[in-house]
Symmetry: D2
């Protein structure tokens, strides 16, 4: 696949660097006659925007999106949609040092080893700035999925501190700067992140994304499996080191009898003798079996490593192979995971939109259970 594109029918190609004039994406394959204006995309970008609390980078970017093509009189036309976001707050600073050094844990070394050149200003292409384009594309993907599918994300772990799932409250997620669904965990994370920030250090985190109202049958076995494409999508987000579907690694400890999600028929509505559907008695699978959606909530989690740009000095080398110590100045996130929540939602939306269109192409509209045909 093209290195900067993903999706087959619903296809997103992003472009742009942290300190270039702009960044954006082309969204191709969008069905025609969907209502689309800039506000419909801006609402998602606003949720991701940096500098909204002291817990994220203080870089101030309005992240105003412009639609340059693919719509006419407020509707999509079926032609490619170009979404453009200007970079506004690229501080002019002295990059002479960073230009010749590699931050441990950062993509500096890798880009340079691959290409022999890198735009080191703010991380260039490897900057989390690129994810703004993903969030914009995700806004279009949500239109394709329609109102029945809801995609929400939350932070479930910061450093060693995990939420209590018994206290999960989606409303709480919108009330705190941590996307935390557990009210009692908010002060704990706040204290933890403040300490790390003051210490010039950073922390990792775990994000969970849930898609509700899923149709059955989305997913393209064997290599276009829904969970496989979600895994690639999440792992392609900056700093992600692990992905889980449903129980994930906990499934390795389980027995088959405990892990299997048992089923019962949902009682037929009055006056009908056809069951209304399937009731699953658990969701260890996370809504995917054999790479295909079952209609249960789709559950994906991913682990984000701690920000590699920290002010604590680390041992490294420079581009000439000389030993040096590196301490990164500038504006950084003590927990980059905080900004990954809307990105994870957007990636899930794009993968689902593409799978929906591919399913329609090969099979037709997703079927209900039990099938009438």
């Amino acid at each position: 696949m093209s290195a900067n594109s993903f999706g087959t029918l619903f296809r997103v190609t992003t472009w742009g660097e942290s300190h270039g004039p702009a960044l954006g994406c082309v969204v191709d394959g969008v069905p025609p006659r969907l209502p689309l204006d800039e506000a419909a995309i801006q609402r998602w970008l606003d949720r991701r925007r940096p500098g909204q609390s002291r817990f994220t980078t203080q870089r101030r970017e309005p992240d105003q999106v412009r639609i340059l093509s693919g719509t006419f009189e407020g509707q999509t036309t079926g032609t490619p949609i170009q979404l453009l976001i200007e970079n506004v707050d690229q501080r002019s600073k002295d990059y002479s040092e960073i230009a010749r050094t590699f931050r441990p844990g950062h993509a500096d070394l890798a880009y340079w080893a691959k290409y022999g050149i890198r735009d080191y200003r703010g991380g260039g292409r490897s900057s989390a700035r690129e994810t703004a384009a993903r969030v914009a594309a995700g806004g279009v993907a949500r239109l394709v999925l329609g109102p029945d599918v809801t995609i929400r994300g939350a932070l479930v772990q910061v450093g060693p501190h995990r939420i209590d799932r018994a206290r999960w409250d989606w409303a709480e997620v919108e009330r705190n700067p941590f996307w935390c669904p557990d009210p009692e965990m908010v002060p704990v994370w706040e204290r933890h992140i403040d300490e790390l920030r003051r210490a010039g250090d950073s922390t990792g985190a775990v994000i969970e994304v849930v898609a509700s109202g899923m149709p059955m049958g989305l997913g393209a076995p064997i290599y276009g499996k829904l969970d496989a494409e979600l895994a690639a999508a999440m792992m392609s987000i900056n700093a992600v080191k692990g992905v889980e579907i449903g129980d994930g690694f906990a499934a390795a400890e389980a027995t088959g009898s405990a892990h299997a999600d048992e089923m019962r028929a949902r009682p037929a509505p009055p006056g009908s003798n056809t069951p209304a559907g399937i009731d699953f008695l658990s969701n260890h699978a996370g809504g995917v079996l054999g790479g295909i959606s079952t209609g249960q909530d789709l559950i994906v989690r991913f682990a984000v490593k701690p920000t590699s740009s920290i002010t604590t000095p680390r041992r490294s080398v420079d581009i000439d192979g000389r030993d040096i110590d590196v301490a990164t100045k500038g504006r950084h996130d003590p927990c980059v995971g905080l900004r990954a929540v809307p990105v994870g939602e957007a990636m899930a939306a794009c993968v689902l939109a593409d799978q929906l269109l591919r399913h329609r192409g090969q099979v037709g509209e997703p079927a209900r259970f039990p099938r009438s045909d």
Copy 2:
């Protein structure tokens, strides 16, 4: 991407069902003039073959591979290579029951919901039989990678029992039926799996695959990242529910100062003042930064859920939506993870071969550190 293909330049398309006459794959994009005969592929298939111990399904398949195209006088020609494996031991049995029921945790329901038809004999396309074709393709991929890159896998966890990494011994992996690198863990797993088998139950497991001798620079940011493609490849293997690169989910608990892999220049060889390369002082990243290989060992882990086909009855529904109980008869793996090790190795080999060819195409041969240009 096509549902049954993966890779861009080194591209594998698999086909075939559990109880059809044969299965196999087309491997396209293989460089010309590589030495290739059936023995070079058979050696990898033999490692995967079922029925070699009481711990895997007793289905007896010789898994003899035939090369039907793409080679001439023992060398690859650059044209597509068709690898064919006949199915031999498809027991004729009564499928009338399984034809109308859905095993909890199995792909039965999902395939049927998607396509409205399914080959239920032995799981059809969703059977682990399909992975034989992947292992065959992996044998070709290893030729493309050449002798400097070594790809090995091991089982590191069965149910609740994890190996002790301090006792890791690659030689031990070849000596026991569990691909276990920890001699003291072998009897523990043996006891555990025997108990589950007798109880008509099954267990999950965790596999780790390590690629050594990696060149720097493999990986295609942003969406063709090496780790993203590995995540998709592993998640596409039957029953996989989670994937980790390097520290994986443990990175969520770490601080940036602890997680960063520090570096020192490898001393210059006598008579030279150019460093021989980089020495990393740790490998939390698992050999990938920014989606690009750093030259460290590439480390990927994946979690396999317990086999869903068990003789313990579970609650379910049939295709008409009637409540039923399901207990699966027939030959099954108490720990399907046991057979996933060669599959994980093969998927890693295919992803790396494709990334190597793509890197050559865009950039040229991978560079050394420090770069001379």
Copy 3:
């Protein structure tokens, strides 16, 4: 795109060489629950089979197709369909001469220049044998298109002799060995080809393929245009040097007023005041405007060069760069265009099937004119 695959949702990957044990293709993305057995494909292969008259190669190949996967109880399952055709009549002969020489006009030199190795037996991968796999895939594509779309081909020119379109008779095409729709042209071509065969020479030809019953709206602007994909498909057939849609090159001589296909509304059926559709007063466009089907007959023509394997000696060089003369022995077609007719039909069917599935995916079922929405 992968070198040996074409199509996006309906995707065909062919493999095999002229003198290998077998050849075939994987057809991926086929909708489920279509009736498919070997007879449904064999009927198309039989039309292409060589050795059916003295005007084609005397190589005797039964071209019996076997379905190895992707069907269950006579229906497609949505999984990849492997079609296999064994090579039977590979004469053992002395290839020592051809192994070191390049036939002028033949792919010998090009394959060798590209790969540094070639299977020279019968042309290896560049042999027209490969087209058997395309014809098999085309049989599946016709099922996807359904009974309303009819795809037929005919030979319209052999050397300097063009048919008279006023005498076009589709029934005649099945009555003569030349796929000739003009009864009066048959004896002319017969005499012409016999003379060339006796002279150890060959001739070019022009094939026309017509698809009737086309829906409106198939085609994916800008680069997946229906006519662009047809052009690639036809040009990928052995020995093809030119492709035309509708008037083709004659359009270069036309004026806009003469070339434009005027339209009139088709009168509304009794009791309705909605027109039944559009009547075009001509079809210079060949059924495609802006890369999208208009519902008129789709008309594509392609030129096939004369067979390059002839017994008349030609000047050439060998692989060491020595000047030589080459005269090709063995069984050859005096007019390879004769066998290209079913191949052209098959390629058109595959392109249309893929475009139909992609249109369904992005837009839904093709609409009628005038649109009700």
Copy 4:
């Protein structure tokens, strides 16, 4: 393939409509460290710019290109290159009539039939404006191909008037507004086009593109053949109805003995006994055999139909199915082929750049003849 992208490793995605705020393209897969600035691309756009003579549309577009990503300090970085061109001269006019009518021979009907909505202002996505983005991408492709490969185009036929190839002079092409290589044909075309323009009519044309300095071995059989991809690329240009490689349709009239391009070894340089290469004694093949470049000049021709937007009234229907007459007002090209020359060059450059990178990926650097290995 994605509808608005082409290429595999060197991949171009265009976006934008005739009367939107801007149009452009993303060029992905460009090798790093190539010198690239806006001037290097602008020079090609300037050749295509409309309104430079009375023979093309009088719409005034500066077509100033901006590079928004993918370069750093004047060099490519290996990341995607966004090229943006603003639309400046979109006359505000009354579109109420065109909004409801279909111009015969125009894409109006097809887009509307496919999508149920269309941006009718200036043809929207189907406007020749889109080709500006292709020309910009072609400028990048030429950098990838390097200085040894020269790609030039010329007009060889306007209406019934063909050039005399004996008078072919590349220098003349730059001296007249018709890209005409035959000085004596210039006044003939000038008269012909002026007459048509005054008559409110238009004419078709034939363009020829020649690539010199070609390496051997470019092309990916079977379906990624160099000529097949060129055919798709040219047929994807607005109004193109036919494509030829080398002799094209004339090959249908030829005999094998006459069509075969004979070869002789190029004498060895002094002091060597290895031939310097191959001398072809003719070029009927147009530089491609078996879909792979032979090192001869690559020759591709394509036919452009007459502009469908003419002021002469034509019979048509409106979106409600009512019979109407259509005469198009506004600024139009009497011979749209005039502006297709730089577009054809650009498409050839993009196809060759992609094939070069793919060849390097699978095989390595193109080899010389005779091969040393």
